[in-house]
């Protein structure tokens, strides 16, 4: 046990890697990656994707791993240890992670509901109508909130309860053990889906659409930006998670190779699932006589509408296939949600010197209450807006500022010199260049472009008043709250640690 860290450490390197990969592998790996490839030049997209992985994704992971490992604490503690004036930069992503969990838990709850629906395929012949009308009971607009949907609430309560149990047990007994069960199970489920997907009639036509390269797309700047955005959001960087997780590593742990393994395993997962998803979409197109472009979709529509439609068309074992798919989706969700909550729990514990069990209880209860709004008839609208804004103006902006502060103020070479002696292999000056120049320039350009787009064209056609309250408002409140909390004093053991100089 580390003398400096609260009480917790990973029991093994494998445990840490599985937890980090579990955090990175989420719903987006299943329902977003394949569409991004298809929509951005097919197989040619892999070139900017790998380029972004090597120039931004892995360098950012190394940055967060080494910073958390060196500072030995949650994100607010780590930044406060660098300098009290930077503490807010740790609180901001911690709070954003907490907000994300409130609606992420609802999507996992839907997935739990759909595991139950899979018995007898309750969605019937029209999964789209079932999802919006019967399952969500979607209201006519965001101004009509409607009542709480009790089926969804039950799923959400179950999700928070499971999160609570895992986190209550701590790092080694809770998160690590859960990851050691979740990740192999997820891999097996997704392999089954992929193998079944590509052995269906018409599947290869789908996979062909997924991977057929259009190299002319590489001349379009948008494709490169899409790849950088995709890499940034898929690796759980900018969420305070990886800083927290790496602080639980023993002192002589590898940093660089762990970052490479986490990133490659995460992207490898997306790639294989993408093949399975497009195999199934190819089958669906063949069976319905539609072109693939007509059946291709992403996000919630892929998981809760397109997949049930495809499952209806399967020649056999429909219920089993449905259960495996929704179980896989649920597990992918859980492995990420526990990391999001842990980032916030660790921040609260460090700052207020609260024991884990109490902190987990308070945070999970508050999270459950926060989830309630997303279980209403207008829940999907709230979810859509909050998700869009906290990602664009929370996570991406945190990533940008983090690169600038750690790369320029703290100095990237200090972290490189810290990580190299510990690691299986070393990083050179190139890493400093990525952190100080390349990644901030790209994230900065994306931020400016997204802000202009957001102002010129209100997101999703929602009313500006709704976007101001639930989009801009929520994103801004997280930052303001982060700054306010950073002005309060530290209590307990961490307060004393803050006064010690870090080399």
């Amino acid at each position: 046990m580390s003398a400096e860290n609260n009480d917790a450490q990973w029991g093994s390197r494998l445990g840490f890697i599985l937890a980090a990969v579990g955090s990175a592998v989420g719903l987006g790996n299943i329902w977003r990656f394949s569409y991004m490839v298809y929509d951005n030049g097919g197989g040619a997209y892999l070139i900017p994707y790998f380029f972004a992985l090597l120039t931004a994704g892995i360098p950012l992971l190394i940055l967060e791993f080494s910073f958390g490992h060196k500072m030995r604490g949650s994100a607010p503690f780590s930044f406060a240890r660098m300098g009290k004036k930077w503490e807010w930069l740790g609180w901001w992503p911690s709070l954003v992670s907490f907000v994300i969990t409130t609606y992420y838990a609802v999507i996992i709850g839907w997935s739990l509901n759909y595991i139950v629906y899979s018995f007898g395929r309750v969605w019937g012949k029209n999964p789209e109508s079932f999802f919006y009308k019967s399952h969500l009971n979607l209201s006519s607009g965001i101004s009509e909130i409607g009542g709480i949907n009790w089926t969804i609430l039950l799923g959400v309560a179950a999700v928070w309860f499971i999160n609570y149990i895992i986190l209550y047990k701590g790092i080694e007994e809770g998160i690590e053990k859960a990851s050691k069960i979740f990740m192999p199970l997820l891999a097996v489920f997704m392999l089954i889906i992929t193998i079944r997907g590509i052995t269906l009639p018409g599947a290869l036509a789908g996979v062909n659409k997924f991977l057929e390269p259009d190299f002319s797309a590489l001349l379009d700047v948008k494709i490169w930006l899409a790849a950088y955005g995709q890499i940034f959001f898929t690796l759980s960087v900018g969420f305070a998670i990886m800083i927290t997780y790496s602080s639980y590593l023993p002192k002589d742990s590898d940093i660089v190779n762990n970052a490479f393994i986490t990133a490659l395993a995460n992207c490898g997962f997306s790639f294989i699932v993408g093949i399975g998803v497009f195999g199934i979409l190819g089958y669906m197109a063949t069976e319905t006589g539609q072109p693939i472009s007509e059946v291709v979709t992403q996000g919630i529509g892929l998981a809760f509408i397109a997949f049930p439609k495809a499952i209806n068309l399967l020649p056999g074992f429909q219920t089993l296939f449905a259960i495996i798919f929704f179980l896989g989706l649920t597990i992918a969700g859980f492995s990420s949600s526990i990391s999001l909550i842990e980032a916030f729990v660790a921040s609260v514990r460090d700052k207020f010197d609260i024991e884990r069990k109490k902190a987990v209880s308070y945070v999970c209860l508050a999270g459950f209450v926060g989830s309630l709004i997303f279980t209403t008839g207008a829940g999907l609208y709230f979810l859509d807006i909050v998700d869009h804004f906290v990602n664009q103006f929370g996570i991406a902006l945190v990533g940008l500022i983090e690169c600038i502060i750690l790369g320029w103020v703290y100095k990237a070479n200090k972290l490189r010199n810290y990580a190299n002696p510990l690691s299986d292999f070393q990083i050179g000056n190139w890493w400093d260049i990525m952190i100080r120049f390349i990644t901030p320039v790209i994230l900065g350009y994306m931020f400016i472009q997204n802000t202009i787009l957001e102002i010129s064209k209100p997101y999703g056609g929602y009313e500006m008043s709704a976007l101001l309250k639930f989009g801009w408002g929520v994103a801004a409140i997280m930052l303001i709250l982060g700054i306010v909390v950073s002005f309060t004093s530290w209590t307990g053991r961490k307060e004393e640690l803050l006064s010690r100089e870090v080399l």
Partner: protein, 31 residues
């Protein structure tokens, strides 16, 4: 499947799974 798609399938697999394999091997050697 077209030749282009097959080549991209190989390209993606080599980078991701080949890279992962190398990193895991190094990790196991050093443990």
């Amino acid at each position: 499947m077209s030749l282009g798609a097959i080549l991209m399938l190989i390209f993606g697999s080599v980078i991701l799974y080949g890279g992962l394999g190398i990193c895991l091997r190094i990790a196991m050697k050093n443990n």
